[in-house]
Each structure stands twice: as structure tokens, then as C-alpha cells.
Amino acid sequence: MFDFLEGYDVLGAFWMTVKLTALSAVGSLIWGTLLAAMRVSPVPLMRGFGTAYVNIVRNIPLTVIIVFTSLGLADIFGVTMGAADNFDVQGFRLAVLGFVAYTAAFVCEAIRSGINTVPLGQAEAARAIGLNFTQTLRLIVLPQAFRSVIGPLANVLIALTKNTTVAAAIGVAEAATLMKTMIENEAQTLAIGAVFAFGFLVLTLPTGLLLGWLAKRLAVKR
């Protein structure tokens, strides 16, 4: 029944999806946290930069960003991400770069909303015992903020998992790329669609359930 799968590396394609997701998730968490720190910092210029970045990047379609990394960054500016001779690796790294740039804006907004959930008194108390901005943020506010934004961050992660399919636009051999090839070559459109739908359900549903459970457990009860 599933003999149409023969000759296609479906697992390999999904493994590529997982790799894209994992690397982009780590990268966007770091860059997103930095952006959030900028957006709440006492320096107006940094706040302005953070706000501008988030508003600009959020309003550009991810597809435009991903296509730009390939046609603009790589072809015109020669940004090859240290893999000038290997087109596949280069495409993968450019895609990750694009996903990080895009997803970080959403991570930043999630973390910022988490910072807003920390009661004013906490930061006042921190300042009263003489902590400065960096210490307050690092020791008092961010740990609590992170615990309260596991839920929203899980949504960002799940959206990122689905968004990695956009890498198909620059030919990265992940799930959507393979589905496009298979669906064009094989007759069983419905079955192929079902296989890939199932793959994404397997990736996203457990992530959502696990992180949802964690979010409930770790949320700071107020």
C-alpha cells in the first residue's frame, strides 16, 4: 500500500526539517532574548532599534526573507556562510540565518510580554537592595519571565517547525521539497499528502503537549 514511498528518503527529509527547526530555534532564542533586552533597556537608542527591528521584520513575509538570503545575500553579496563550494550546506545555513532573523522578532515579543508579567514590586525591591539594571534583569526579572512565557514560546517553536517548509523555496531538501517532488511524480496524491501531514502532526503535537505541560508546571503562581 505504501510502496510509492520506495526510492524516496522521507525520513531523511523530515530529519532535515528537524535539524532546520532545532538550529533556528536555538539561534532565534539567543537573538530574540538580546532584542527583548534591548527593547526594555534604559538606553533610548537601543529601545528604538529593538522596536524598529521587530516591526519591520514581523511585517515582511518569511518567504521574501528566505528567497532574499539565496538570491540577494548569496548570489549578489557573496555571503556563503562558509560553504562556498557546497551548495546544499550553503542553502541550509542561509535558510537557518533567515529563520533566525524572522523568528527572533516573535521570540522577542513573547519574552517582552513575559517581562510585563513580573510585578513592579519585584523590580523595585531589586533596585532597593542595590541591584543595577543588568542584575535586576538577569537575576530577578528574566528567570521569572522565561517561566511564564514557555507557553507562547512553544507556539513560536511550533510555528517555526511549520515555517521551515518555506526553505523549499530555495531548494533545501526538507519535507515540503520532497512532497512537491513526490506529488508530481507519483499517482497517489492523497496518500502522499497523508504521509506528510502525519509527519508534521508527529513533530508538532508532542512538542505542544510537552511544552504545555511544562508551562503549567513551571509557571510562577501569583
Binding site: G72, T103, I183
Partner: protein
């Protein structure tokens, strides 16, 4: 501005802030200078590459028709997805377990699948099973993908909107003798729609952004696709990306601002319950599979929204 995290700056803090500002400006300027140099190196600053955008031909031949198709696909998708979403949202709250279960499965399924897969699948389906002309097919496929995904997201927004209403509304409706259907259509839904409006407008941003997928993967002649035709004609890849990027930013920024304005306005109005489904009111339940291309705030509304615990008003 004094915030949670820092006090109104004193003399030392002021000096430090100035220093940090200077350092940050220098870093930013270096980055911009590097980009500028790079563009200059690759001759991307030459006027001949930018000049087409000052002529009407580039706009009337490529950009405006592309923008038109983007808006057309987004508008059609929204118009179909909204009633469909309302139906599924209401069905998920049905008293009959089988209706609830079926609607729930459909909604969760289509939210867990990437829009791109839905579009690719729809495209192939139309090739094999219908006789839609090949010029029309990309539009059909894009709209189908967007409708399936966004109807599910809107279903959750509708459901959250109805759940956000005070329980007394339903009780009062029953008390004056309305039936279940009447309660829904004449009491709950109208109020829910007002509460949902900002979230619905925000969802439009997601739809507009997702149309770009059809341009790359299905050859739909929307804005991003028109960009590549334009760039092929004038050999101005970078300028065309910048111009198209700016068009998207302006368009979506207008939509976001409109949603924000609507939200503030609705919050003020005395007629509504005061519950408004905005970006920050909606706390997202992670167990569900939410949000795609506009994750985070923008209507990535999964099952069981929890609202601000503050009572309405």
C-alpha cells in the same frame, strides 16, 4: 520614561546611558557602513538599477498587478475563511459530542499542517481532478491553502471570543426565553464579533504574508513573483527586494495599526462587554498547535485561550 526595570536616571546613570548610546550608535553606523560598502562594491547603488522605480512602467507592469493579486488572494481567503471559521468555532462548542469531536479534529488537523503543504496538495488536486485553467489554478490553490489554515485559526478566535463573554449573557438570554440557536445568533455572536475584530484584522496580516508562498512555489503572480519578473527585466535584484519589502511593510503596518486602533476604540466603547481579543489579552495555550507565519501575537489562537483574569470592565 521610567520603567519596571530602571529608575529615572541620576547623574551617573545618565552618563552611562550616553556612553552606551554612543557605543551603540558607532556599532550601528559600522554595520550600516559595511552594508553600504558591500552594496557599492557590487554596484548595487547605481542609479540605473533604481531608476525603473521612478518610471510608471515598472509599477503598472509589475508591482501594482502583483500587489493586486496579493490583495485579491488575501481578500477572497478572508471572505471564505471567516464564515467557515465561525461555523467551526461554534461547532466546537456544540452540545453534541460528535459535532464537537468532528469540528475539533478538523480544526486541530489543519492548524498542525504547514500552509505550504496545503497549497501544494491543493494545486496537485486541481490538476488531477478538475478542469480549472492553468492560469487560474495557482490562485485557486493559494486560496484553498489559506482558507483551510486560516478558517481553523479563525475558528479558535471565534470560540475564544464567545467564551470571553460573561456567563450571565447566556443565562439572561435563556431567562427571557430564547432558544439555544437564538442565544447564539442574537446575543453571543454579535458581541463576540466585536471582541474578535482586532484579532481578525491581525489575521489578515498573516494571510497577506502567506500569499508570497504561492508566488515562489506555485507560480502565482503575486507581489514576490512580480518582483522576480521585474528583476529579470531590469537586472536589479537587490533594489527590487528592497522596494517590494517596503511595500509589504507599509501594507502590513497599516493593517496592524488599524487592528490596534480598533482594539483601543472597542475597549473604550460602552456597548461591548469590554473584553477585546487583542494581541496581549490572548494568552496562548501551548498544548495546541498555533500560529504560523505570524506567530506570537497575531491570532495564533489555539484551543482554550485563557484571558486576562481581570473581570471585564
Amino acid at each position: 520614561m521610567s520603567s519596571v526595570l530602571y529608575d529615572t536616571p541620576g547623574p551617573r546613570a545618565k552618563r552611562r546611558n550616553v556612553l552606551l548610546s554612543v557605543v551603540f550608535t558607532v556599532l550601528l553606523a559600522l554595520l550600516l557602513w559595511w552594508v553600504w560598502q558591500k552594496m557599492d562594491d557590487k554596484n548595487q547603488l547605481e542609479w540605473s538599477l533604481w531608476e525603473p522605480f521612478t518610471t510608471s512602467a515598472a509599477w503598472t507592469t509589475y508591482l501594482l498587478p502583483g500587489l493586486g493579486d496579493t490583495l485579491k488572494a488575501a481578500a477572497i481567503s478572508m471572505l471564505i475563511a471567516l464564515p467557515l471559521g465561525a461555523v467551526f468555532g461554534i461547532a466546537r462548542m456544540s452540545d453534541h459530542a460528535w459535532v464537537r469531536g468532528a469540528a475539533g479534529t478538523v480544526v486541530e488537523f489543519f492548524r498542525a499542517i504547514p500552509v505550504l503543504l496545503l497549497m501544494l496538495f491543493a494545486n496537485e488536486f486541481y490538476v488531477r481532478s478538475t478542469d480549472i485553467s492553468s492560469e487560474q489554478r495557482p490562485l485557486y490553490a493559494v486560496v484553498t491553502g489559506l482558507v483551510l489554515y486560516n478558517a481553523s485559526v479563525l475558528a479558535e478566535i471565534v470560540r475564544a471570543g464567545i467564551l470571553s463573554l460573561p456567563k450571565g449573557q447566556t443565562e439572561a438570554a435563556y431567562a427571557v426565553g430564547l432558544r439555544k440557536g437564538q442565544t447564539m445568533t442574537s446575543v453571543l455572536l454579535p458581541q463576540a464579533v466585536t471582541a474578535m475584530l482586532p484579532a481578525i484584522v491581525s489575521q489578515l496580516v498573516v494571510i497577506v504574508k502567506d500569499t508570497a508562498l504561492g508566488g515562489v512555489m506555485l507560480g502565482f503572480t503575486e507581489l514576490l513573483n512580480s518582483r522576480s519578473t521585474l528583476a529579470a527585466n531590469y537586472a536589479n535584484v537587490i533594489p527590487s527586494f528592497i522596494v517590494v519589502g517596503i511595500i509589504y511593510i507599509i501594507l502590513n503596518f497599516l493593517l496592524t495599526s488599524f487592528a490596534g486602533w480598533l482594539e483601543r476604540r472597542l475597549r473604550r466603547s460602552k456597548k461591548s462587554t469590554g473584553a477585546v481579543l487583542g494581541e496581549d489579552t490572548v494568552e496562548v495555550n501551548p498544548a495546541a498547535v498555533g500560529g504560523t507565519f505570524g506567530t506570537g501575537g497575531e491570532g495564533g489562537g489555539p484551543s482554550g485561550f485563557t484571558f486576562n483574569d481581570k473581570p471585564p470592565r
